[in-house]
Amino acid sequence: MFSNKAHKFRPYLFLLPGLIIVACLVGYGLFSAIVESLSTPENEGDFYYYIELWQNNTFLQALGISIWVAAVSTVISILVGLYLTRTMVRLFRKDHWKFLAWLPMLIPHFVAAYLVFLLFSPSGWVSSMFYQLGWIGSIGEFPVMVNDPFYLGVIFTYIWKEIPFVILMLLPVYQEMDLRYEDVSRTLGGSKWTVFKTVEFPWVWPVSIEVFLILFVFILGAFEVPALLGVTYPKMLPVLAYDWFYQAAWVNRPLAQAMMVCLSIVSLFAAILILTFSRRWRKKWTVRREEI
């Protein structure tokens, strides 16, 4: 239909406005972050702040706890979201049910964090209820769930907030997936697990890994929830960065910028890797689908 030259450039043209915005904003922002992080104090060698950063114990601890929180919250959100989507997919065909499913997304993150705090802190409402029920005798007996060293409160908040997002992203896949496939393979006598593995998994996998990427890096970089529900030590990366940016008369700013640059580079590589992978997978599957 459109075999002329214009056709060849069309996709790029469509992408242009978005690319301009991203390139200008992120490009410049990142560029100045790099410049600042590469500055060196007198009598010090190149990459001073980067060397400093990776020898800084506070940073390494923060990195560890951040990866823990991001990984656990993301994996649990995806598993639960996947389960809910699978079970409810027929229900979600009706618009009003689907609508209800992602209504919780309307709650901003810091609001969710504050709610978790009010409900689950040792003096929170759940603790009061346990006391009234006679399950605990004093505030001290209530298990520590917010501001705890394992970041359970933070993880819980993220799981609560991200499940609707997972459902939102996975639902189109399940709706597109012809349910007849499933019937066919069921009549063929496969177990539930085989059905999932052979029929659903190839469809769900690329989207899931994309969702994993988005959520993982989001949690790694988001400030509000750990600021409210985290602990003094170890801090999560964004909270540490905020401290470094604003405290001690700004002397730690280059260090904070070095941290941001490292995070960005790792995230970018992860993104390229995951997107390449998911595209290959999708292509392969499309071919297989046509063969059937």
């Binding site: 991203v22 922002g29 006391y131 609560w160 970089g221 960065a241 995230s267």
Partner: protein, 268 residues
């Protein structure tokens, strides 16, 4: 019979889950906002007091902030659609060189910590006169929202069958006509999700608005955030309820616009 019961059970389970995850927390927040002296281990407050709401609405900038918040959110949604729709369409329908690279670039804004970017962008934006005013804030809000809009809309286009467009083209309709009369209505669910997601993200921005808006552009988070460093839980709760209600209002507005658009389409 069995199938039917299973469905009822499923619906019940889902409603229960929904109540736990959404209805109860909001209700609890509202109760908190009108409570007086609610201390452990009481399950309900010792008194009712609308002081917190008075505090919230006595602030001379509250109405201006509400308007600003909605205007910024609305503008961010519109710009997102203008930019994200062609991008998502392109990513979903075409194969071309460097696609993965471009795709990765487009989600870059959520991969890079916003604090670092905003700090670096502050100087050029001052020089361009884009600080301390609405347009600067709208522009910077594109940063955390655009990647989500592109992802959600792309998922929508992926799901749409190519056949519709081809049929339309075969019948001789112009591509643009096909786009507005066939694709957009079919995309309605994705458009709705994208709009809402973008609005909520824009609504909850504090750091970006504070840096680029410089305190002059007053949005709801600008008034609300400082109260987090006070012990006044009732006031925090009253603002929280507002935060939960704004997207609902936006949704109602958005639905009305969508419905009327579809109605106009159906008429001729």
């Amino acid at each position: 019979m069995n199938e039917n019961r299973k469905r009822v059970l499923l619906q019940g389970l889902f409603l229960l889950l929904f109540a736990i995850m959404f209805v109860i927390p909001i209700f609890f927040m509202f109760a908190k906002s009108i409570s007086f002296g609610w201390q452990w281990p009481n399950l309900s407050p010792s008194g009712i007091d609308i002081r917190a709401w008075e505090v919230a609405f006595r602030d001379p900038r509250i109405y201006q902030s509400l308007i600003n918040t909605v205007v910024i959110g609305g503008a961010v949604v519109i710009f997102n659609f203008l930019i994200a729709t062609p991008a998502a369409y392109s990513l979903s329908r075409y194969e071309f060189k460097g696609k993965t690279m471009i795709e990765s670039l487009l989600i870059l804004p959520i991969l890079v910590p916003v604090l670092a970017v905003a700090m670096g962008l502050h100087i050029p934006m001052i020089r361009l006169g884009l600080t301390d005013n609405l347009s600067g804030v709208i522009l910077i809000h594109l940063l955390p929202t655009l990647p989500y809009a592109i992802r959600v809309l792309k998922a929508g286009f992926d799901r749409l069958n190519n056949d519709w467009e081809e049929q339309g083209a075969v019948l001789g309709a112009r591509r643009a006509t096909v786009f507005w009369t066939v694709i957009i209505p079919l995309m309605a669910p994705s458009i709705r999700s994208a709009a809402l997601l973008v609005f909520v993200i824009s609504l909850s921005q504090y750091v970006l608005t504070a840096i680029i808006g410089g305190g002059r552009v007053s949005t709801l988070p600008m008034i609300y955030y400082p109260f987090f460093s006070s012990a006044d839980e009732a006031v925090i709760a009253s603002f929280t309820v507002m935060f939960a209600l704004l997207p609902v209002l936006f949704l109602i507005l958005f639905e009305t616009v969508c419905r009327s658009y579809l109605k106009i389409l159906k008429k001729p």
